[in-house]
């Protein structure tokens, strides 16, 4: 068996990757898939995994070991092991951006900061899963209120020259702030810039509870939003590393652990879901 998979069942999206043990060349990312988690977590995990297998053009039985992570990891019926998203994000970030000492992860419904040692081990972490501030949900809501697609808010924010002042970080309250700025005739880009900076301040104050050491990697779905990257850099006063695969960091970390465990285990790939 050369292939292993990582499935990261997040609150909003499920990410699955297939990695290959190339022998001398180290682990290689061969396929990735992204599906909406929706209400049926178990199905989302299966769909994500099978989509990644299709992308890799290998049958599910070829995958020797599957590690599940993310909030829905215990609902994965076909996995061989589960690991926390903290461990997987740390591992994935060290793989994608070698030398990472701090991970800031902004997901659909939570955000976290992880402090990593020189050998890639987790030293400490903080997490906000009590409130939507600093998460993708906040940005999705703001985009919704403004009638702008979530994919565009980041680039619009970058065009803002005079960010409006947003004092609340509550996702509900900020709706009123946005509406009143719109009524005052403020530009969408200035409002969005203000929103991004408010979220960046909130996330950085969370992250400061673990020591922030360079180099800093941004992971999670929000990492695709360049406006958020720049806002975080502005508030941090430091540069962020953002890998093109940052969205899949947790799944990649899980797959790396899966490759290791596959070597140690003689367990065969039983119980894989069949292609629909």
């Amino acid at each position: 068996m050369r292939f292993a998979a990582g499935v990261d069942v997040g609150s909003t999206q499920t990410k699955a990757v297939i990695m290959e043990d190339t022998g001398g060349g180290g682990p290689r990312l061969v396929a990735r898939a992204l599906v909406d988690t929706g209400a049926n977590v178990q199905k989302a995990a299966e769909h994500g995994f099978l989509a990644a297998c299709r992308e890799a053009a290998i049958p599910a039985q070829e995958v020797g070991f599957v590690v599940g992570t993310g909030y829905g990891r215990y609902k994965i019926t076909f996995g061989n092991a589960q690991m926390t998203e903290i461990t997987c994000h740390a591992r994935g970030a060290s793989f994608l951006c070698p030398g990472t000492r701090t991970v800031i992860d902004m997901g659909g419904q939570d955000s976290k900061a992880i402090s990593i040692g020189a050998k890639g081990e987790v030293l400490d972490f903080v997490m906000n899963d009590k409130c939507a501030a600093g998460t993708g949900r906040f940005l999705a809501n703001a985009a919704d209120v403004m009638g702008i697609s979530l994919d565009e808010v980041g680039s619009l924010s970058l065009q803002g020259k005079h960010p409006v002042k947003i004092t609340t970080v509550c996702t509900v309250f900020v709706e009123s702030d946005i509406l009143s700025y719109l009524a005052q005739g403020k530009k969408a880009e200035d409002i969005l810039n203000g929103v991004h900076l408010a979220i960046a301040r909130r996330t950085v104050s969370l992250a400061r509870r673990v020591p922030i050491e360079p180099q800093i990697s941004l992971t999670g779905g929000v990492a695709r939003n360049l406006g958020m990257v720049r806002a975080l850099e502005q508030v941090l006063g430091a540069t962020l590393q953002v890998n093109a695969e940052a969205h899949f960091t947790g799944a990649i970390g899980a797959a790396l652990f899966a490759l290791e465990k596959m070597d140690q285990s003689s367990e065969s790939a039983i119980g894989r879901p069949a292609h629909a």
């Binding site: 209400a39 899963d129 009590k130 501030a133 609340t168 509900v172 309250f173 009123s176």
Partner: protein, 272 residues
């Protein structure tokens, strides 16, 4: 016979009442509510015009205007502005003279107020940092479950096995609701769980404010019987609700305005 208006510019609705002082007994003669929207001055003017129409009185008949609520200072035609703490306490006490505590659940803000024996504000606590525990929690849940807001409270009363909603964030709670729906939990049990969650937040605020034995629940959410029952279950005390609960702060503002007007008139009378 002086007439005074009280206007409560809340984050979702603006409420106006017109009070007439006939023979020293102030009585509400008109009331109206409009959506606040983004133009606070317009919302105040519109609600006042509608309340006057309800009273059958012309604009000139109003001698004094008091504003309250989050938009109170945005109304240029006001004579007086008071906080929603002061107006809520005054209005609740007027309707329930024995009240020692007032809970005001608004769209975006929940306030717990305790009163002295004389009806003055002794202390208060508000959740002004975030929407957890506020009425918008119910609005969002109703929207997702596709239920008319007016029906939510009645439906919740039919719950057989209320499901706890653990999130304190009104936005993240939506995900919990989605999970409950997909797990086949009944709408009744979900809504009842939401009220329990709100009641828990409210009771924490009340305890921090130093709650008294006679509690009055005001604000629009007080119309929802599911909320009243959830509060009574948690606090183990009966909860009084005014008939026009959403107008309590507007009434309080009008009464405070009337008092101010009478003081001005008597000072003027002494000087002349």
């Amino acid at each position: 016979m002086p007439k005074v208006a009280g206007i409560d510019i809340g984050s979702a609705f603006t409420k106006a009442v017109v009070v007439s002082d006939a023979a020293g007994a102030a009585a509400v003669v008109g009331r109206a509510a409009v959506r606040t929207g983004v133009d606070l001055e317009k919302a105040a003017a519109d609600s006042l015009a509608m309340a006057l129409a309800d009273a059958g009185s012309p604009r000139e008949s109003v001698d004094y205007i008091a504003t309250t609520g989050f938009g109170r200072s945005s109304v240029s035609f006001r004579d007086l502005q008071v906080t929603e703490i002061t107006s809520g306490a005054r209005g609740a006490r007027r309707l329930f003279p024995q009240a020692t505590a007032v809970l005001d659940i608004g769209s975006q803000c929940t306030r717990a107020i305790t009163l002295t024996e004389a009806g003055k504000v002794r202390g208060f606590k508000t959740n002004d940092k975030c929407a957890a525990g506020s009425g918008s929690f119910i609005v969002r849940a109703a929207k997702y479950l596709q239920i008319e807001l007016g029906e939510v409270g009645e439906i919740a009363l039919r719950a057989e096995n209320p499901q706890p909603i653990s999130s304190i964030c009104a936005v993240l709670a939506e995900s919990e609701i989605i999970n409950h729906v997909s797990a086949g939990v009944s709408v009744e049990d979900i809504l009842s769980g939401i009220y329990d969650s709100l009641a828990e937040r409210a009771s924490m605020l009340l305890k921090r404010a130093g709650m008294g034995p006679d509690l009055v629940l005001i604000g629009g959410v007080a119309r929802q019987r599911g909320m009243v029952r959830a509060l009574e279950n948690r606090l183990k005390v009966p909860v009084s609700v005014p008939a026009d609960c959403e107008y309590t702060c507007a009434l309080g503002a009008a009464l405070l305005g009337l008092k101010r007007l009478q003081t001005q008139l008597s000072v003027a009378a002494c000087r002349s």
